[in-house]
C-alpha cells in the first residue's frame, strides 16, 4: 500500500511539474514577442533595487495597512514552503517528517510555521474584507469586473484553505504521535494546532491515520494546484516581481527614449554627413501591437498583480477620465496571451491582424499627463507610461490621429518655434521691460 502511495505521489508531482513548466515556457515565449532590448548595465544597482523593492517590499509599505498584511503573507509563503520541501521528500521516500533529525531547530521551525499559518489566514481574511466589506474603490474599477475580481478571490480562498489544511494535518499528526502510532515519530511543536486536537481526539487511531493522509494529500495537492493556477492568474508576481525589479528602468523617470530610427531620418534632412545612408527607413513608428513593445513592457504586464495603486494615484483617473494605468497593463497582457495563442494554433510567423489599439482607446491614451505617478505607486516598478507613450507615437506618426489643438501646436512649433502663435522675433521682447 505504501509503495502505491509513493508511486502515486511521484506521478502526481511529475504531471503537475510538467504542466507548470509547459505554461511557464509559453509565458516566456509571449514575453519575448516583444522587441529586443538589452538591459544589463549597472548590475550592482540592479541587485540593490531588487533587494530593496522586491525582497524588502519597500514600496508595498508606502500604504501601511496593505503593506503590513502583505508582508505576513509574503513571509508565510516563503517560510512555509520549507515545509513543502519536507512534504516532497516524505512523499517520494515514504518517510514521515523526514527533516525531524534537525531536532530542536525542527521543532521550533514547525511551531513558527504554525504561527505564520495563522497570520497568513488572518491577512487573507483582512484582504477579503478590504475587497468586499470595506469595498476600497480601486478594487471596484470597471476593469476589475468579472475574471479579475474572481481571480483575486480564488487566490485568497485557496490560501485560506491551504493554511487550514496545514493546521488540521498537524492536529491529527500530534494525536497519532501521542498515541505512539506506528510510523508517526514524535517531532515538531504545535503551538496552534494543539487547540484543534479536540475535533479529532474521539476517533480511533486507524481513522486518524486516514484523516492524516487525507489532510496531507489535500495540502500537497492544493499546493500543486496553486502552482499551476498561478501562471494563469495575476498572481504570477510572486515569481516575476524579482526579475521585474532587477530589470527596472534606472534612468530618470522624465527621460523618454529617443527613437534612433527617427534620428537617422532627421540627420538625413539636417546634416546628411551624420546619417547612415544604408539604414533602411523604418517600417513603422511607435507601438501598434505587443510585438512593437519591448520585452520588458511585456514582463511588466505579466508581473502586474492588478492591485490598482497606479490607477488610484493617476490624476486622470482620479478626476473621472477613462484612463486607468492598471487597465493598460491588463490589456497588454491579454493581448500578448491572445497573440501567443494565435501563434500556437497557426505557427510562429502568424499574426492575427489585431492590435493593442483594439483594446486601448485613443481617449485613454490622450488623457495621460505623463506625470509618472503610476510608476511611482507601483510596488514592483511597472511602467505603464512607456506603453501609453509608444501607442501615442503610433497614433500621431502613423495615423496622424490627434486632437486638432495638438495639430495646431505642432504647426506652431514648426513655424514659430513655440507652441503658441507668436512671432519668433518677439521672443526676447520681455527683456526690454525690466
Amino acid at each position: 500500500m505504501q509503495y502505491i502511495e509513493q508511486l502515486l505521489f511521484v506521478i502526481v508531482l511529475g504531471v503537475a511539474l510538467c504542466f507548470f513548466i509547459k505554461k511557464i515556457k509559453q509565458i516566456r515565449r509571449n514575453i519575448f514577442l516583444g522587441k529586443d532590448e538589452t538591459i544589463n548595465d549597472q548590475k550592482a544597482e540592479r541587485w540593490k533595487v531588487m533587494a530593496k523593492v522586491a525582497l524588502g517590499q519597500s514600496k508595498m509599505v508606502v500604504r501601511p495597512v496593505a503593506g503590513f498584511f502583505h508582508i505576513l503573507i509574503y513571509i508565510g509563503f516563503i517560510l512555509i514552503n520549507i515545509e513543502v520541501l519536507e512534504i516532497l521528500i516524505d512523499g517520494v521516500a515514504g518517510t514521515h517528517r523526514s527533516l525531524s533529525f534537525l531536532g530542536s531547530i525542527y521543532n521550533t521551525a514547525i511551531g513558527f510555521f504554525e504561527i505564520l499559518a495563522v497570520l497568513v489566514f488572518v491577512a487573507c481574511i483582512v484582504f477579503l474584507a478590504r475587497r468586499f466589506i470595506v469595498r476600497i474603490p480601486r478594487f471596484h474599477s470597471p476593469e476589475m469586473k468579472g475574471w479579475a475580481t474572481k481571480d483575486a478571490t480564488y487566490i485568497l480562498i485557496i490560501e485560506i484553505v491551504l493554511m487550514v489544511a496545514l493546521l488540521k494535518m498537524n492536529a491529527v499528526d500530534q494525536l497519532l504521535q501521542a498515541r505512539g502510532a506506528d510510523h508517526y515519530i514524535a517531532a515538531g511543536s504545535f503551538p496552534v494546532s494543539q487547540y484543534l486536537t479536540g475535533f479529532f481526539s474521539n476517533y480511533s487511531t486507524e481513522t486518524l491515520v486516514v484523516f492524516e493522509r487525507v489532510f496531507w494529500w489535500f495540502h500537497i495537492l492544493g499546493i500543486l494546484f496553486f502552482l499551476n493556477y498561478v501562471p494563469y492568474s495575476k498572481h504570477l508576481h510572486i515569481f516575476l516581481a524579482f526579475p521585474n525589479t532587477w530589470y527596472s528602468r534606472l534612468s530618470p523617470a522624465g527621460e523618454f527614449q529617443n527613437m534612433p530610427e527617427i534620428t537617422n531620418e532627421v540627420n538625413m534632412m539636417l546634416d546628411p554627413s551624420k546619417a547612415d545612408p544604408n539604414m533602411p527607413p523604418p517600417e513603422k513608428f511607435g507601438v501598434n501591437d505587443v510585438t512593437d513593445l519591448s520585452w520588458k513592457n511585456l514582463l511588466d504586464a505579466y508581473s502586474c498583480t492588478e492591485c490598482g495603486r497606479c490607477t488610484s494615484s493617476c490624476p486622470a483617473n482620479i478626476t473621472g477620465k477613462k484612463l486607468s494605468p492598471r487597465k493598460i497593463m491588463m490589456d497588454t497582457r491579454d493581448r500578448a496571451e491572445e497573440l501567443g495563442k494565435a501563434k500556437d494554433n497557426n505557427g510562429p510567423d502568424y499574426h492575427d491582424g489585431k492590435s493593442l489599439h483594439d483594446l486601448i482607446s485613443q481617449e485613454e491614451l490622450l488623457a495621460c499627463t505623463t506625470c509618472n505617478a503610476c510608476v511611482e505607486a507601483c510596488p514592483i516598478n511597472i511602467n505603464p507610461v512607456d506603453i501609453i507613450f509608444g501607442m501615442r507615437q503610433y497614433q500621431t506618426l502613423e495615423k496622424s490621429a490627434m486632437p486638432s489643438e495638438w495639430a495646431m501646436m505642432n504647426s506652431n512649433i514648426e513655424n514659430n518655434q513655440a507652441p503658441w502663435q507668436f512671432s519668433p522675433t518677439d521672443r526676447a521682447n520681455w527683456s526690454k521691460e525690466i
Binding site: 534612468s251 530618470p252 523617470a253 522624465g254 527621460e255 523618454f256 529617443n258 527613437m259 527617427i262 534620428t263 531620418e265 532627421v266 540627420n267 534632412m269 539636417l270 546634416d271 494615484s313 490624476p315 486622470a316 482620479i318 478626476t319 473621472g320 477620465k321 477613462k322 481617449e363 490622450l366 488623457a367 499627463t369 505623463t370 506625470c371 509618472n372 505617478a373 510608476v375 511611482e376 507613450f389 501615442r392 507615437q393 503610433y394 497614433q395 500621431t396 506618426l397 490627434m402 486632437p403 495638438w406 495646431m408 501646436m409 512649433i413 514648426e414 518655434q417 513655440a418 507652441p419 503658441w420 507668436f422 522675433t425 521672443r427 526676447a428 520681455w430 527683456s431 521691460e433 525690466i434
Partner: protein, 263 residues
C-alpha cells in the same frame, strides 16, 4: 528697485569677446506667456543682483520640442532638439539654467543622446546654491509666520528627483511650509504635463487643476508656491475657479525671492 537691467544675449557677449558662465534658457512660456514673463523677469533680477555672468539666446532660442514629443511627434521633437543643439554647441555652452522644468528635463535627459551634453539645472537649484553660498541672504524675515504651501511639478519632482531645493528656499525665507497630503514623490500633477497644456482634457468628472488647487487651498496657505510656468497657470486658474483670488496667491519661488529682497 527700479534700476534698468539690460539682458545680454550670448551673441552680444561673443561679439565682445566674452562668454557667459551660465546660459539662461527662458523657454516658450517664459518668453511669451504674460504670467510666466513675470517669473522670467524676477529670475533675471536675481541673476543681476548676485552678479552672475549669464546670457540668453534671445531670438535664437527655440522650443525644446518637449510638447511635440509628449504628443507623440518624435519627428518634430528631434528636429527641434537638433537645431537647438547646433546653436548651443556652436556657442560652446556648458551650463544651462532654466525656469521651466519641462525644458530642464528635456535638455538634461533627452538631448545627450542627440549630441547635446550640458550641465543643466533648474532655477530653484541655482537659488538654493546661491543661498547656501551666502550670495543670497534674507535679513528681514519677510515671510516669517506666513503659511506657504509648495506644489511639486512632475518634471522637477518625480521625473528628476528634485524635492529639497525648492523647500530649502522656503526655509531660507522663514516661511511656514504647510505640505499638502500629496507631496514630494506622491505629488499630484497640475494637469498640464504631457502636452495636456495645449489641448482640452478628456471627458471626466472634474478638471485635474481643480482637484489639485482644492488640496492646496485646504492647507490654509495664503501663498501656493510653484516652480513651473504651466503649474502656475493651472493652479492660478484653479484659484479663480474657487473664487479665492483675493485670499490665495500663486507665485513662483523666484518671485518669492524677489519679493523678499524687494528687487
Amino acid at each position: 528697485m527700479s534700476e534698468k537691467i539690460s539682458v545680454p544675449t550670448v551673441a552680444e557677449l561673443i561679439a565682445k569677446g566674452e562668454k557667459p558662465d551660465v546660459l539662461f534658457w527662458v523657454g516658450c512660456a517664459g518668453s511669451f506667456d504674460e504670467r510666466a514673463q513675470k517669473v522670467t523677469k524676477a529670475f533675471v533680477k536675481i541673476l543681476h543682483h548676485v552678479g552672475l555672468k549669464y546670457a540668453i539666446l534671445g531670438t535664437e532660442e527655440s522650443c525644446t520640442g518637449d510638447p511635440a514629443k509628449r504628443a507623440g511627434n518624435e519627428f518634430l521633437f528631434q528636429m527641434q532638439a537638433m537645431a537647438n543643439i547646433a546653436t548651443l554647441n556652436a556657442y560652446e555652452i556648458s551650463k544651462i539654467v532654466t525656469t521651466c522644468p519641462h525644458c530642464f528635463n528635456t535638455i538634461k535627459n533627452e538631448y545627450p543622446s542627440l549630441g547635446g551634453n550640458y550641465e543643466v539645472i533648474h532655477h530653484t537649484q541655482l537659488l538654493q546654491e546661491l543661498i547656501d553660498e551666502g550670495k543670497l541672504t534674507f535679513g528681514e524675515e519677510p515671510f516669517k509666520g506666513r503659511k506657504i504651501t509648495y506644489h511639486d511639478s512632475c518634471y522637477l519632482g518625480r521625473a528628476n528627483g528634485v524635492y529639497d531645493a525648492p523647500r530649502k528656499i522656503l526655509e531660507a525665507l522663514d516661511a511656514e511650509l504647510v505640505e499638502m497630503k500629496r507631496c514630494r514623490k506622491n505629488g499630484l500633477c497640475c494637469g498640464a504635463g504631457g502636452a495636456q497644456m495645449f489641448k482640452d482634457a478628456e471627458q471626466g468628472s472634474k478638471e485635474i487643476n481643480i482637484e489639485r488647487t482644492e488640496e492646496a487651498i485646504d492647507t490654509g496657505a495664503e501663498i501656493i508656491s510653484a516652480n513651473c510656468p504651466f503649474c502656475t497657470t493651472m493652479i492660478r486658474d484653479g484659484v479663480k475657479h474657487a473664487e479665492k483670488e483675493d485670499k490665495v496667491e500663486v507665485l513662483d519661488l523666484a518671485e518669492l525671492v524677489v519679493q523678499a529682497k524687494d528687487l
